[in-house]
């Protein structure tokens, strides 16, 4: 099942849109509501503030085989609070995702192995408990997918991913 998801994520039909929106109450709701009522499929949506406190930035990932990315872009433009939309899919970009992964550890040996895996992925163990550890991993989605794939055998208890954020280079 996880493998399927990984395969799906490698699908080249994925489109990344970056939308600058006014940092006002309800704007996320307007975007989400637009997606819902137009029956657009969102893979991920990450929102945060920018260098300008009045502007928020959304990174929206769409599976273009199911949803026409250009139509999403044009419909976003119709929202009054949307300042700018750019499809950065074909532009040189830095793309990142953050994930926290809680893995089951049954003994000290496992804990050591997991620490090693984390190191290999240049990620960190950020919490250690009696029967679990939390790993923080940052990188492109494939990297997150890969570590998830490796850790699967140990028993993944919980995963949270931020969704893709993207910034054009230069």
């Amino acid at each position: 099942m996880l493998i399927d998801r990984i395969e799906a994520r490698k699908n080249p039909t994925k489109h990344t849109l970056v939308a600058l929106v006014e940092n006002k109450p309800g704007v996320l709701n307007r975007v989400a509501s637009l997606m819902r009522r137009r029956n657009f499929n969102i893979e991920s949506l990450a929102v945060g503030t920018t260098e300008d406190p009045t502007v928020s930035r959304m990174t929206i990932v769409i599976d273009a085989s199911r949803t026409n990315a250009a139509l999403v872009e044009r419909n976003l433009y119709k929202l009054v609070n949307v300042i700018d939309v750019q499809d950065v899919t074909d532009l040189p970009t830095v793309v990142r995702e953050l994930a926290l992964i809680k893995v089951r550890v049954s003994d000290a040996q496992h804990r050591g192995e997991i620490k090693q895996i984390a190191d290999m992925f240049q990620s960190r163990v950020v919490d250690v408990a009696k029967e679990s550890v939390i790993i923080e991993v940052t990188g492109e989605e494939q990297k997150v997918d890969s570590i998830l794939n490796v850790l699967q055998d140990y028993g993944i208890l919980e995963v949270v991913r931020t969704g893709r954020i993207a910034m054009t280079r230069g």
Binding site: V21, N29, R37, A70, L71, R74, K78, V80, V82
Partner: protein
């Protein structure tokens, strides 16, 4: 007394005193000031607790704004919508919080679907009560989010002047649409420094937002080339031509290009229907020759229309061999339903101004001959060819009679259903924006409130509301509004004791299984009289003409009930999912009616 002394201050120079320069107004006053400044002088509304401060302030504005007390908030929104369509000025409706505001929903959805500039002002509970489930509190911005172009909740009076100005600007600019402003009760009462806002600058909103960077000259050049090479072109004309006030440019383009025109339902009236190149309405109930022309075209020039499914039928088979030029002010319409070879995001007016000089003056004799051949076949099937017996009246005859008696000099507001389609088929629209009808949403009950709105917009015009017995029963209460406002409106009810269009679908697609479509109706003539209105009835064509004449002579509102044949169908018809060339046609009509209603019922040949 003349004086040569210099003016003491700027204020004195303007003829304003200090107080006026720094005008302090209540939120309620700001609302009325903005409405007046925006050029709207009629507001359709219904008061209630949360909007009371605004109604209180209305007392001081009565000489500048006329408030129409409707009998249901939905009709306030529908009337405001029709007021916009009749005048081009933003329609304004007003309601209180909670149920008042939620009652606007259908009217706002109607304005959204048909791109009408409407500003709805609703009262909200006091700002300190928002979120507490206070009496008559509803999350109105949440409720109306998907059915407005934009909406606001105003909790701070200092934002109100700007928000009000933005609301009007958003409503009428670009692709028009409804904007709702939900204003807390205490905001209406608080004072604010008010200065009229002359122009609105908004950070994100642009009236036209093209997709990417458009190379307009290159797109126009490609459009010209497609037009040059076309042998069977057709123009699909939509409401965008009306909204962009591009009637003149459109006519010039049509006449120079020599390309025949098919209109959408809402595009009726963008070109006079007696113009030789106007083929008239396309789509589900468009005349067969129009749909045949589209199905066989090699070029579609779609102007300010959005390829609604009622227009295209099955998209897979829609105008298969046609290249497509699509011009729309809304970028999201390009490639939404039908892929465009040339898609231009701009106002139709601007595009036609550029494009018309670029093209050759042409005509398409062979193409027109083919269309006329199809047209002759359609005319041979016209139900009006049949001499009706004295005890029978058909709705198409009523529509034709209204057209002939008024000589087409009137504004028509229709409801939704069979009568609406018969109106488009048998009334020849020669005037600009003559037909006001609910297109995209198909709102039953539209006709009467729309006629009220249209009458305020066009007080000197003859206004007809044409409704079915079903839709009319949804707006009966507005007869009281008509009387209170002394509006000279002629109301025609086409009564077949059925929800006619639903019955037609049940007959054709559900094997005659009539479910919940038979309608008991009141005595409409007595009903009219109960409201103090003149009531008339007609049951055959002779009476129909007589009552139409009497109604027109009568100064004041008249309600006419036309009792028509119960089970007639609107043909032609493209059944849902079918292609343009799979229409269910009218049969070729016999010269005289030989018993039964079979002549109306033949299926596709």
């Amino acid at each position: 007394m003349l004086t040569c002394e210099p003016l003491k201050s700027y204020e004195e120079g303007c003829g304003l005193n200090e107080e006026e320069m720094n005008m302090k107004l209540t939120g309620a006053q700001v609302i009325w000031e903005t409405i007046i400044q925006q050029g709207t002088n009629v507001v359709f509304g219904y008061p209630g607790g949360a909007i009371l401060p605004t109604y209180d302030a209305l007392v001081d504005y009565q000489d500048r704004v006329h408030h129409v007390l409707v009998r249901h908030e939905e009709n306030a929104a529908l009337a405001a919508d029709a007021y916009f369509r009749a005048t081009g000025k933003v329609g304004v409706c007003m309601a209180t919080s909670g149920p008042g505001a939620t009652n606007l929903v259908t009217g706002l959805a109607n304005a959204m679907m048909d791109s009408s500039a409407v500003v709805a002002i609703t009262g909200q509970v006091a700002s300190y009560l928002v979120g507490s489930d206070a009496f008559q509190e509803t999350d109105v911005t949440g409720v109306t989010l998907p059915i407005t172009k934009h909406n606001y909740l105003v909790m701070d009076v200092n934002e109100l002047p700007q928000v009000m100005a933005e609301a009007f600007y958003i409503a009428r600019s670009g692709r028009p649409g409804p904007v709702l402003v939900d204003i807390c009760k205490d905001v209406q009462q608080k004072m604010v420094d008010y200065e009229p806002i002359a122009s609105v600058q908004m950070r994100g909103y642009r009236a036209i937002k093209p997709h990417g960077r458009q190379d307009i000259p290159a797109l126009l050049q490609r459009a010209k080339e497609l037009i040059d090479h076309a042998r069977r072109p057709i123009i699909l004309a939509g409401q965008g031509i009306k909204h962009g006030n591009a009637h003149e440019e459109f006519r010039a383009f049509v006449e120079k290009s020599g390309i025949p025109v098919a209109t959408t339902l809402l595009g009726i009236g963008v070109l006079s229907e007696d113009h030789p190149l106007n083929l008239r309405m396309m789509g589900m109930h468009g005349e067969a020759y129009v749909n045949q022309a589209i199905a066989n075209a090699d070029l579609l020039i779609a102007l300010g229309m959005r390829f609604d499914d009622r227009v295209t039928g099955n998209l897979k088979t829609y105008a298969k061999n046609a290249r497509v030029i699509h011009v729309d002010i809304d970028a999201a319409e390009i490639n939404k339903n039908v892929p465009a070879d040339v898609g231009i995001v701009a106002s139709v007016k601007d595009v036609l101004r550029e494009l018309t000089p670029m093209i050759e003056k042409r005509s398409y004799p062979a193409w027109m001959e083919q269309i006329n051949e199809w047209r002759a076949d359609t005319q041979a099937r016209d139900v009006l060819n049949v001499a009706l017996p004295d005890d029978m009246l058909l709705a198409p005859h009523v529509m034709r009679a209204i057209w002939e008696e008024t000589k087409g000099e009137c504004t028509i507001c229709t409801d939704v259903g069979q009568h609406q389609m018969w109106e488009t088929q048998y009334f020849q629209h020669t005037r600009k924006n003559q037909l006001i009808t609910s297109g995209g949403l198909g709102t039953m009950g539209f006709a009467l409130p729309a006629a009220i709105g249209a009458k305020f917009g066009r007080p000197d015009d003859e206004v007809w509301a044409i409704a079915g017995d079903g839709g009319f029963q949804m707006s009966i209460p507005e007869l009281a509004t008509v009387m209170q406002e002394k509006l000279d409106i002629k109301i025609a009810i086409i009564n077949n004791n059925f929800l006619g269009m639903v019955r037609q679908w049940q007959e054709l697609m559900h094997n005659h299984r009539y479910s919940a479509v038979e309608m008991w109706t009141p005595d409409f003539v007595k009903l009219a009289q109960a409201y103090g209105m003149c009531g008339l009835r007609a049951t055959n064509i002779k009476e129909a003409r007589e009552v139409i004449r009497r109604a027109r002579e009568h100064k004041g509102p008249v309600l006419i009930e036309f009792v028509v044949e119960k089970e007639t169908n609107v043909f032609p018809m493209i059944q849902p999912g079918k292609s343009l060339n799979e229409m269910t046609r009218r049969p070729i009509q016999p010269a005289a009616l030989g018993g039964g209603m079979e002549f109306m019922k033949e299926k596709a040949r």
